[in-house]
């Protein structure tokens, strides 16, 4: 089962701590390689906490574990970092700013 979602990225305490231990370090990668999905969408898509889901955008594909998060339905969250950046496109609409918050992604259970 798959569905489209709006991806937002953002900072977390774990992501910041991981950066100090080294961007690309195991701690940084672990802190930035998961997706938060709201309980309603988790139930609807039959996804359990910790289950690997596949995300696709026009620019990339990643497989990450899912976590239940406090979000509205249709919105998913990944901490800023390499995983999210594989999905965010390069169109800046003339502003220099990519769509770090608002990227359309397809999510499926695998």
């Amino acid at each position: 089962m798959e569905d489209f979602f709006t991806l937002i990225t953002g900072r977390t305490k774990g992501q910041a701590h991981g950066l100090h231990l080294g961007a690309g370090s195991p701690a940084h990668l672990e802190a930035t390689s998961f997706i938060e999905i709201c309980p309603k969408d988790m139930t609807r898509l039959g996804i359990k906490d910790g289950q690997i889901v596949r995300l696709r955008s026009d620019t990339g594909r990643v497989d990450v574990p899912a976590r239940t998060g406090s979000l509205p339905a249709g919105l998913v969250f990944i901490p800023m970092g390499p995983t999210a950046n594989a999905l965010v496109g390069t169109d800046t609409f003339g502003t220099g700013m990519p769509l770090f918050k608002g990227q359309r992604v397809k999510l499926e259970r695998i």
């Binding site: 910041a16 701590h17 231990l21 990339g60 800023m80 390069t90 220099g96």
Partner: protein, 423 residues
């Protein structure tokens, strides 16, 4: 034998907390008293050991590394200088001088954080104040699309929600705290009022507030908020003594970007008909505000500047790094105190693998893996002194808590400037 050094400024984020006491033993920092977890992690994990540069993965002397850097830059038709937000103001000046000499494009990390804010300032101006005024006077604080309890952890205690000041002697009790966001963040949980709006509706909500504060009415809700919620917020904004909106990436990274921010700045300016009202961006890196300042002094523009024609040209979407890299328009890159491989969309960042890239940074990062030349410089605020701009554009001095064993960004950039051929 350890030593205590007081009043050290933490340069991790735009708060620039300047009340840190660090305990130093030899070349290691043992404690960073009063620092937040982010700042403490920066101080305690820093390794100031002497390190030589690398060229093609081989350890070389500084002269050889600078020579390799100069060869790359002299051989490029369209070099890009990127980063700058975690270096000193003094080094930023040198980076702009180098860009001018090379005819390069220069762009700070601001282009992927608050550059839409700069575009909005250019369009409509800003009503602003210092964080000292916020602490002393503000009785209404609105955090819009930002999460300071995660990203700027001491903002509440030093400057805003919990800070005690001249007209706010009881701190949190003297202020009303509102959070506007699309999700219930940690900051939202600390608020008196959390207004959860639908994603991508910031502009509409801000326009509705402008309508309301001008005395017009709205009959229907907007962006997931009821008409009553909007009316209540507009009433708070009009009747407070001193209001401040802090905003973050929730406005600058979402659809609408600079238009969202311009609408907020306009609302803030209009509220000054009723009381004092300011709008302040939550700047991320410790001296990203300084990068905007320095580039503006020297070129007239805050970032996204090309010197290719011999004079500064401003080009949002043209000379901004994600656009330059994704179109393959740079044929060499000098990265200063930044990590584009970790922080830019991969489809743009991966082009740094295809061009000769020089990385100037105090610690190894993801961009080290693609850099042809690595210049391990000292860290401003830990083993090098310098100047940094707080998020409210107040410049503060960064102290060195022990002597540097590696050269500073400013020193290395000065050597490169002397050695490169002018375009």
């Amino acid at each position: 034998m350890s030593a205590l050094i007081e009043n050290v400024t933490c340069k991790f984020c735009g708060c620039l907390c300047d009340d840190i006491t660090v305990e130093v033993e030899g070349d290691r920092i043992l404690k960073a008293k009063r620092a937040c977890p982010n700042g403490r992690s920066m101080f305690l994990n820093y390794d100031p050991a002497s390190r030589n540069p690398l060229v093609d993965g081989q350890i070389v002397e500084w002269d050889e590394a600078i020579s390799a850097t100069v060869d790359i830059l002299n051989g490029a038709d369209s070099p890009l200088i990127y980063g700058l937000s975690s270096t000193s103001t003094e080094a930023q000046r040198k980076a702009v001088e180098l860009a001018d000499r090379l005819g390069a494009i220069i762009d700070s990390t601001s282009s992927v954080c608050h550059f839409p804010t700069s575009l909005a300032v250019q369009a409509v101006g800003e009503a602003t104040c210092t964080l000292g005024e916020v602490r002393d006077r503000a009785d209404l604080l609105i955090f819009w699309g930002c999460n300071p309890l995660v990203s700027h952890i001491r903002h509440f205690s030093r400057y805003s929600a919990n800070a005690k000041g001249l007209l706010t002697p009881n701190g949190r009790k003297d202020r009303t705290l509102v959070v506007v966001d699309v999700r219930p963040t940690q900051t939202a949980k600390a608020a008196d009022h959390f207004l959860q709006i639908e994603p991508g509706t910031d502009y509409e909500v801000l326009t509705s507030l402008r309508v309301l504060i001008q005395g017009q009415n709205i009959e229907h809700g907007v962006g997931g908020l009821s008409a009553e919620q909007l009316q209540e917020l507009a009433h708070m904004m009009k009747t407070c003594r001193y209001g401040v909106v802090f905003f973050g990436m929730g406005l600058t990274m979402t659809p609408g970007r600079n238009y969202n921010v311009a609408e907020l700045f306009t609302l803030g300016a209009e509220l000054n008909r009723f009381n004092r009202f300011s709008v302040i961006p939550m700047r991320g890196h410790g001296n990203v505000a300084g990068a905007d300042q320095v580039l503006t002094w020297l070129s007239g523009y805050p970032t996204a500047v090309s010197f290719a024609r011999g004079y500064p040209q401003f080009g949002p979407g043209e000379f901004t790094t994600v656009d330059v890299l994704s179109r393959g328009e740079a044929d060499a890159a000098l990265i200063v105190a930044s990590d584009p491989i970790a922080h830019l969309p991969w489809m743009a960042a991966k082009n740094l693998e295809r061009i000769p890239t020089i990385l100037m940074a105090p610690t190894a990062n993801c961009s080290s893996k693609v850099a042809k030349v690595i210049l391990p410089t000292a860290c401003y605020g830990i083993d090098a002194p310098g100047t940094s701009y707080r998020m409210d554009n107040v410049p503060l001095r960064l102290r060195a808590v022990f002597p540097n064993t590696r050269p500073t960004d400013e020193e290395i950039l000065s050597r490169i400037i002397k050695a490169v051929q002018p375009c």
